[in-house]
Symmetry: C2
Subunit: 186 residues, 2 copies
């Protein structure tokens, strides 16, 4: 097998690969788009390398990622470390009895579900997602993984929007947050 | 960084890790569930290893995966090979002008979209997904990636259900299909 050995880009270089789309999904929002980051071979591989190193340093025994963009980063980190991947899904996707948590959105509510058997014993689960804004989705994932018996103390994100307070919300839930880059003023 | 070097499981061992759930999503369907495969660290990493080897042998310059389960496998293959990952998304998810293809489901239609700029020139794009059944979703992804200028000749799947004819459908579209395992009688 011929395997490309990609350059490991540093965090400042990775930040340059994130595209900012103004006024999406509504006026005044600067959408930080990872399409261009994952569209760079060295950029994507380096992102996974940095996240995998951080997950490893935190003693991860499994990686959990939330549908759908969390799958892109979380699964690749799990595969790189040889760890199980726990898919945190939208309602109705799993073919077995699930456990679920409802959580508030700006308008209405949403729900996350997992197969409770996908968490093995009290294994140390590290959450990986593309972006933390208000932290509501990540907080729901933490609750769900803990309901299934997991030990959840760390969450890793590619992007943090610190002005939206997600890190503090997770801190109150006993979760330490790390991210590869931050965008202020969002 | 301490990195686990997982055992590379063979294809027969990987097949044992797929869970069969009877009568989902409706009576008489045997649902082949990858939750248990990705829930095994060695199983998931080995699956990505086998897919990455096949993608590399086919000259992949980018990997495309379809939302949502295709992200789990496709992105990890791209990261392992240091290649770009092209996310083929459900409608309304991307923050930029997209191109889309509608395709038929058993009841009604569905739609896939991509950012046309995520395909660079005529790069050789290999599609990776968890499962091929009738092949309708994969056929739509092929059309879309070709509309964006990509050279698309290969699709890789973890699971093929050959009785449902997906491989033949893609063969008619000029796509050669490979899979890590097959379940007959579905």
């Amino acid at each position: 097998m011929t395997q490309t050995m990609p350059t490991l880009l540093d965090l400042a270089e990775l930040k340059q690969l994130v595209r900012t789309v103004p006024d999406f999904p509504k006026d005044g929002i600067q959408f930080r788009d990872i399409t261009t980051l994952i569209g760079s071979g060295p950029g994507f591989s380096s992102t996974i390398g940095h996240l995998a190193q951080q997950a490893s340093e935190r003693g991860a025994q499994a990686i959990a990622g939330m549908e759908a963009r969390g799958f892109i980063f979380g699964a690749a980190v799990a595969a790189r470390l040889g760890l199980p991947f726990i898919s945190v899904r939208k309602p109705g996707k799993l073919p077995v009895p699930t456990i679920g948590v409802d959580y508030a959105l700006e308008y209405g509510t949403d729900r996350l579900e997992i197969d409770p058997d996908s968490v093995h014993g009290d294994q140390r689960v590290v959450i990986v997602d593309d972006l933390i804004a208000t932290g509501g989705t990540a907080e729901a994932a933490v609750k769900l993984l803990r309901m299934a018996g997991g030990t959840v103390e760390h969450a890793l994100f590619v992007i943090d929007l610190p002005d939206l307070g997600g890190s503090q919300l997770l801190d109150h839930a006993g979760i330490s947050v790390a991210s590869l880059m931050q965008f202020e003023g969002d």
